[in-house]
C-alpha cells in the first residue's frame, strides 16, 4: 500500500476533520457512557434528522435547523427527567422516536428522499469543503476547551451527583451545559459517520478503553487514541477497498472491542489454567 493518497486534498481534509471528530466523540462519549446515556447520541442524531428534514422542508440551511431542534430536544428531555421520574433510557426513547417521527412526516410532505439526506444519514466525510473542515476544527476546539475547563466538575458530577452538589457545584446548570455540548458534538460529527452510526463513535472506543482497568486519565487517553486510530485507518482503508468510510470506521471500532474482549478472555482462561495446574500439583 503506498500512501500517495495522503497527497489528495479531499483525503487530507477528511483526515483532519475526522481526527477532530474522533477526539470530541470519545471525550463526550466517556461522560455519556458513564452516566448511562449511551444512546443519547442516537437520540440527538435522530432529533437532528427531524431538524434536517425541517430545514429541507422550509429551505433553511439544514445544519442550523438540526442544531436548534437537537438542542431544544435535549434541554426539554433534561427538564422532563428532572420534574418527572422518567428513567434515562425511556427519556432517550421519547427523544429518538419524536425526532424520527417529525423527520419521516416532513420528508413525506416534501415528496420523498433527496440526495442531501443520504449524506446526512450515512456520512460524507470525503465530500467536505475547506470551510466545513475549518468549521469542524473550530467547533471541536471549543468543545475540547470547555471539557478541559469543566473536567473536574464533570467528573465529580458523573461519579456522584449528590456529592458534587454538596461540594458547591451547580449541578443543574452543569447538566444543561452538558447536554448542549453533547448536542453540538453530535451535529458536528454527523458529517463523518452519519446519523445512523453516530453512537458507535460515542460508545465503542469508551467501553473498549474502560475494559483495560486503568484510572480516568489513562482510560481517556486510551479511548481517544483508539477513536483516532479507527477513524484514520477507516478513511484510508475505505479508499483502497472502495467501501463507505462510515461503515469501515465503525467496523474497525467493533473489531478493537472484540479483540480486547478476546484478549481478556484468553488472559482469564490462561490464568485459570495456571491455577488449575497449581492446584492439581498441590
Amino acid at each position: 500500500m503506498n500512501l500517495e493518497i495522503l497527497g489528495y486534498s479531499f483525503i487530507q481534509k477528511g483526515l483532519i476533520a475526522g481526527t477532530a471528530i474522533a477526539i470530541i466523540c470519545s471525550l463526550m462519549g466517556m461522560f455519556l457512557v458513564l452516566r448511562r446515556y449511551s444512546l443519547f447520541g442516537d437520540a440527538l442524531s435522530h432529533m437532528a434528522f427531524g431538524g434536517i428534514s425541517l430545514g429541507l422542508f422550509t429551505g433553511i440551511y439544514p445544519l442550523w435547523t438540526a442544531f436548534i431542534v437537537s438542542v431544544l430536544g435535549a434541554l426539554g428531555i433534561t427538564k422532563l427527567r428532572k420534574s418527572t421520574k422518567i428513567s434515562g433510557d425511556a427519556a432517550i426513547a421519547v427523544l429518538l422516536v419524536s425526532g424520527l417521527g417529525i423527520g419521516v412526516l416532513l420528508i413525506s410532505a416534501t415528496g420523498g428522499f433527496k440526495v442531501d439526506l443520504f449524506s446526512f444519514l450515512f456520512g460524507s466525510i470525503l465530500l467536505i469543503s475547506t470551510e466545513d473542515m475549518l468549521l469542524i476544527l473550530g467547533i471541536s476546539s471549543g468543545i475540547i476547551a470547555t471539557l478541559v475547563a469543566l473536567r473536574k466538575q464533570l467528573l465529580h458530577l458523573t461519579f456522584d451527583e449528590e456529592q458534587a452538589q454538596v461540594s458547591g457545584i451547580n449541578t443543574d446548570k452543569l447538566n444543561y451545559v452538558f447536554v448542549v455540548l453533547a448536542s453540538i458534538t453530535v451535529i458536528t460529527s454527523m458529517r463523518l459517520v452519519g446519523i445512523l452510526l453516530i453512537s458507535a463513535l460515542i460508545v465503542l472506543p469508551n467501553i473498549t478503553a474502560i475494559m483495560f482497568g486503568k484510572g480516568f486519565k489513562k482510560t481517556i487517553a486510551l479511548s481517544v487514541s483508539m477513536s483516532v486510530i479507527s477513524v484514520v485507518s477507516g478513511i484510508i482503508l475505505s479508499y483502497y477497498l472502495d467501501l463507505a468510510p462510515s461503515g469501515t470506521i465503525v467496523m474497525i471500532s467493533v473489531a478493537m472491542l472484540v479483540g480486547t474482549l478476546l484478549f481478556k478472555y484468553v488472559n482469564v482462561l490462561g490464568k485459570s489454567h495456571v491455577i488449575q495446574k497449581l492446584t492439581s500439583e498441590a
Binding site: R36, L155, D160, Q163, Q165, V166, I210, G215, F216
Partner: protein, 264 residues
C-alpha cells in the same frame, strides 16, 4: 461557638413526618453521636443540613442563616450512607479522593465567612501544599496507601467506606457529617477509623456529627449524644445518656423491633 444550630426542624415526605420539630446545637469541637433506629430520620436530617432537603424550621451554620451559609457547604465533609456509582467507573482510589478537593476560589469564599465569625480554621492538610500530597496524606490517614492505584469498583465495601472518608477529609472540613460511616467495615478497620476520628476531633479540633447504630463505639468516642426517632428524645452529655436506664431501654426496644423487622 455553635457550629450548627437546628431549631424546630420538621421534614415531610408525602405528608408523612420523617423529622418532627427537632432542636439541638453542636458546639465547636463536639463529637456528637446520633442514634436512632432505622427510619428514625437521621439521614433525612443530614440532607437538610447540607442543603439537599427542603424543611421547615431553621438551620444555622457558624451563626449564619441558610441563605448566607451556602459558601460554607463545600467545607463540610459529608460521607453519605449510600453511595451508588457505576461499577465499571474508570477511576483509581486516589482519583476519587481528589474529587473531594475544593477549588481555591470556593475555599476562599468560605474562609471569609469563617473569619468574620471568628472561627479559627485548623487546616489539617492545607499546610501540606500540593494537591497530590494532600491526597496522599489523606490516603495514609484512612489506611489506603497500598490501594491508591486500584480501580474504585474493585474495592470491598469496607475499603470503599474508607475511600469516601478520605474524600471528605481532603477538603480540610470545618465540620464532618458521617452517616453510618463504618457500617460493613470489619472490626479492625473500625477501630482504625475510630482512632482517626478521635485524632481529628481532639488534635485538629474538627467538629464531628456522626450517626451510628453502634452504642459501644459512641460511648467510647462521642462527648455528646442525640437520640431520635422522628422526634428528639435526648440531647446532651454522653454520660447522662448512658446513665439514663429508661432511655437506653426505650432505644434498645425500638432497635430490637427493627431488628426483628429486618429478619421477617
Amino acid at each position: 461557638m455553635n457550629v450548627l444550630e437546628v431549631s424546630d426542624v420538621s421534614i415531610k415526605y408525602n405528608g408523612h413526618l420523617a423529622v418532627d420539630k427537632i432542636n439541638f446545637n453542636v458546639k465547636e469541637g463536639d463529637l456528637l453521636g446520633i442514634v436512632g433506629p432505622n427510619g428514625a430520620g437521621k439521614t433525612t436530617l443530614f440532607k437538610a443540613i447540607i442543603g439537599l432537603q427542603n424543611h421547615s424550621g431553621k438551620i444555622k451554620l457558624f451563626g449564619y442563616d441558610e441563605a448566607d451559609y451556602q459558601p460554607l457547604l463545600p467545607l463540610i465533609g459529608y460521607v453519605s450512607q449510600k453511595v451508588s456509582f457505576e461499577p465499571n467507573f474508570p477511576a483509581t482510589v486516589s482519583e476519587v479522593v481528589s474529587m473531594g478537593l475544593i477549588p481555591e476560589k470556593k475555599l476562599r469564599k468560605g474562609a471569609v465567612l469563617l473569619k468574620n465569625c471568628g472561627y479559627s480554621w485548623n487546616l489539617l492538610y492545607k499546610k501540606v501544599g500540593k494537591d497530590s500530597d494532600k491526597v496522599l496524606e489523606c490516603l495514609k490517614t484512612a489506611g489506603l496507601e497500598s490501594l491508591k492505584d486500584r480501580r474504585i469498583g474493585d474495592l470491598s465495601g469496607g475499603e470503599l467506606q474508607r475511600v469516601f472518608i478520605a474524600k471528605a477529609l481532603v477538603k480540610d472540613p470545618v465540620l464532618l457529617i458521617l452517616d453510618e460511616p463504618v457500617t460493613g467495615v470489619d472490626a479492625d478497620a473500625q477501630n482504625k477509623f475510630y482512632t482517626v476520628l478521635r485524632k481529628i476531633n481532639t488534635e485538629n479540633k474538627i467538629t464531628i456529627v456522626w450517626s451510628s447504630h453502634d452504642l459501644e463505639a459512641i460511648s467510647k468516642l462521642a462527648n455528646r449524644v442525640a437520640c431520635m426517632n422522628r422526634k428528639l428524645f435526648f440531647h446532651g452529655e454522653k454520660e447522662e445518656f448512658f446513665s439514663n436506664k429508661e432511655l437506653l431501654k426505650t432505644y434498645a426496644e425500638s432497635a430490637m423491633q427493627m431488628h426483628m423487622h429486618d429478619h421477617n
